[in-house]
Symmetry: C2
Subunit: 533 residues, 2 copies
């Protein structure tokens, strides 16, 4: 809201205009930063926020996710979204903060791989409902002990939840149902619509069953193909290679350890006796010092020492890749490609000590790629912690990595117009999104590099297949060209030699085929030599 005031021309005038505002006010004015912009995108983002929360909650509680989404058109550009899950439910004390307060939640301070991570998304959606319809969202939740219903909106100025129409319900229930209404949104069945979002979610989460009822009452069921809940990722302690000085000091301030030596052992991943011995020789102070007394330059010495010591790579059980076989199975089922290469790379660490891992698949032929104006084009499916990223492709590290590859080296001459589906899943205990809308990954150097390595791994595999396809095509074209002239040549020879035309023709055909076979053999032998060399 505008405040029309006196002109500001001096430092004192400036002082009078100085205002503070809440994070809710900030995001209310900048809904586009939450991905809540554009009629189509907004509806997809709403579904995205609810579904990621539901799957996260189910997995935390070791429940196989069963999620239902229904979108109902109430009037043009006016919709109701209903989501229902079989998760652990919310309590009276958490429901308001989970759905009616920005920057509150369970995920922010924990180093554990999850889909949500900021405690903004679902509350942002509540704010959108109240801004566009003036109505709160309706919640019904049961956690096995208590079942209750209420309505939630946000006091934007204070960033506090407002709970109304609270009702204790007698029936036992486990799960959460949310009904919310929105204006100025639109349902479409497009590449950026809710249906495609759910289809891709199903690809990356084969252990979840997702039901969807579209506004025209069409029903879709993505049934789980795997009956096991993925092994739960462990919460991770920071890996020494990635920690910053500031983070080390924060950890030191809050540790229960009384000496730096025990602080290092208890608060870091992969910190063994040998490493600590090495570190003690690299720093200028005694490691028996109280960690709470650690000064900046001492912490700096520690971080420098960490860089020189050889630690074991970060634990892999902190990350939960989809896995090579599951990706293969999912892509084969949907894309039915002629050729498929899948790579799950080893975990790495990026700035801040966050472990991450890259999964890449490249599918060629079949239903791979997407069709635009009757032309097959490349399709890039981006995921972060198994969540599909449908928007902001241009600003994403995954797109940048794909564009940075010299595809010609892998026999792909015109990447844009090749029937390829490139699948990339980045998993991490903390995904560095470019915006609170969580649709694009920031271009961290270590992440770009790993993405490139994964893409090149797959590209190498597929390049041989494509080279073969191209040889076959060239052979076919050569054969056709030769065969086109055979009747003419045969006719001339027949005139000159008076031999039988048909017999000459057959002989010429045999000659050409023989010649092509020889050429093929030569190429293959050269390739074998090339490999041996």
């Amino acid at each position: 809201m505008a405040i029309i005031g006196k002109e500001i021309t001096s430092a004192e005038e400036l002082e009078k205009h100085f205002k503070e505002h809440s994070v809710a006010e900030f995001f209310k004015k900048n809904m586009q930063m939450l991905g809540l912009t554009g009629k189509i995108r907004t509806l997809t983002t709403i579904i995205h926020e609810y579904v990621t929360n539901s799957i996260d909650a189910c997995e935390d509680a070791k429940i196989l996710p069963e999620i239902e989404i229904r979108i109902t058109e109430l009037a043009p550009l006016h919709y109701e979204v209903m989501t229902k899950d079989n998760g652990p439910g919310l309590t009276k004390s958490t429901v308001g903060r989970a759905l009616g307060k920005l920057l509150a939640g369970t995920k922010f301070h924990r180093l554990i791989q999850s889909r949500g991570q900021q405690g903004i998304g679902a509350s942002g959606v509540t704010m959108l409902s109240q801004i566009t319809t003036g109505q709160p969202i309706k919640v019904l939740t049961g956690n096995g002990k208590e079942t209750f219903a209420c309505e939630i909106s946000i006091d934007v100025r204070k960033n506090e939840p407002k709970i109304t129409n609270f009702q204790d319900l007698k029936k036992e229930y486990r799960g959460t149902i949310i009904r919310a209404r929105f204006k100025d949104v639109k349902y479409v069945k497009s590449e950026q619509g809710p249906l495609e979002y759910l289809r891709r979610t199903a690809i990356a989460n084969p252990h979840a069953t997702i039901k969807f009822i579209a506004p025209n009452n069409e029903k879709f069921v993505f049934r789980r193909s795997i009956q096991q809940i993925p092994a739960k990722p462990k919460e991770v302690k920071p890996h020494p290679k990635g920690i910053t000085v500031d983070e080390l000091i924060t950890l030191a301030k809050h540790t229960k350890a009384k000496k730096v030596v025990s602080f290092l052992k208890s608060d870091f991943d992969r910190m063994g006796e040998k490493a600590i011995n090495e570190i003690s020789k690299l720093v200028s102070f005694d490691l028996n010092k109280d960690p709470k007394q650690l000064r900046w330059h001492e912490a700096e010495e520690l971080v420098k020492a960490f860089k020189k010591v050889n630690f074991i790579a970060p634990r892999t059980d902190t990350l939960r890749p989809i896995g090579k076989e599951r990706i293969e199975k999912a892509i084969k089922a949907i894309v039915q490609p002629e050729f498929l290469a899948v790579v799950t790379r080893a975990p790495q660490v990026y700035k801040g000590g966050f472990p991450f891992q890259v999964e890449v698949a490249i599918a060629y032929g079949g239903k791979a790629g997407k069709v635009i104006n009757g032309q097959k084009k490349i399709e890039i499916m981006r995921f972060a912690n198994r969540v599909p990223l449908l928007f902001d492709a241009g600003g994403c590290a995954i797109t940048k990595a794909v564009n940075s590859i010299d595809w010609k080296r892998y026999n792909i001459k015109d990447i844009e117009n090749t029937p390829l589906t490139i699948f990339v899943n980045l998993i991490s205990v903390f995904v560095p999104y470019t915006s609170a809308g969580k649709q694009a990954i920031s271009e961290e150097e270590e992440i770009i590099e790993e993405l490139r390595l994964g893409l090149m791994d797959c590209a190498r595999k597929i390049s041989k297949f494509i080279a073969g396809k191209q040889r076959e095509y060239e052979r076919k074209m050569k054969k056709e060209t030769f065969f086109k002239y055979i009747p003419e040549v045969a006719k001339s020879l027949h005139k000159v030699t008076k031999n039988d035309y048909e017999s000459i023709k057959r002989k010429l055909e045999r000659l050409v085929l023989e010649r092509l076979r020889l050429e093929e053999k030569e190429v293959e032998e050269n390739e074998k030599k090339g490999k041996a060399a």
Copy 2:
């Protein structure tokens, strides 16, 4: 910082893990959302935050900006940044909030065109200094009445400023000097480096003098070419065409007016007697009602009525375009193009009632475009409220608008490889950035449409010039082809006719030139007819 706790498997466990965090903690963990990511980008963003604040402050105080920036390399990847302006200075009460508290400032609640708008940038930079070096930033400021120095850092957990080493200074001073140190950043002289950022800032702000001292002590001065401070944009009341129901209710709650009718007159732009008469007939309630009692459905009726009434377009004095002549002057000086088309479009309103305006220039030839591997390529210079946008081009509405144009229709066959400089400045009282890093504009439909219209305006002008260039080229090629064969033909004719070879050759040459002239005339006449038709 990680909290390693018990596994969360029930709603009650979840409750124990529920945490709230401050907006400073959020952005500290997500520095990439502030553009503070990557060694090179981070340093440019730091300069960007300080320089935009300085120019805004100077213009508010009607001072011709005089800004000095010095970057000093203290050690590899360790720099000091000093910025000095001649602005109105800060007071003891504002200095902490301006530089040590996120979401505090003068700009957020005002509908006035300015470069900064969120009250995040400069405090984010303070946080970066303390995270990478453990040190506060040093400030010296004078506002004509008092001069003082202090050090500022942020209590991240509370999002509150910490002021240390405060010193009252006796000397009189006007302006602000900030010294801050950063690690893990790098100065480079590249398209995304501080120097290019300042060069573009100078292009869009010809009334500012900007001095820059690079780490190698090289000095650059961008001297002001215009001695007048741009006319100060007025603060704007919301235009009725763009207001949302929620915003209308918020305004109604805070208005001093006692009746809806006076509320409409006092709180909206372009609301005349005639419009109010029309509105009163379109709504079901009495406009003498107390605005504080306005209910959602009544506010909805008002907004619907606004859509049906013809209001005058938004006031243009709320926006401050650079202006056609100034853009021409600036681009001619720097790019020296063969051809230049500049358009400043009329103001429009986008969602939320925010006026905006688009300025576009397309320069062809000369130093237009950029050189990559010896090849001339297209260069797109993006600006928002005269601030250069150097990053996140892929996710920006300006890039999307450029890519959506069918350039072939304007005789530009391969836009990527054409020596063009496209200059776009979007000005608005509220720029919808995609992220708090403010480097890309969100794809609002109305904005994309205006950008397209501006680009097509310029494209039409330049297409004629390019068509002429192409005709000239074709004529030249034709002439060369004909002339190549003239000696041979002349020789043959000489042999047959025995006439003088040189004379035949001259005659043939005249013949060809005459023929080409005729063709040219024909084309021109066809064009004239085409115009007349």
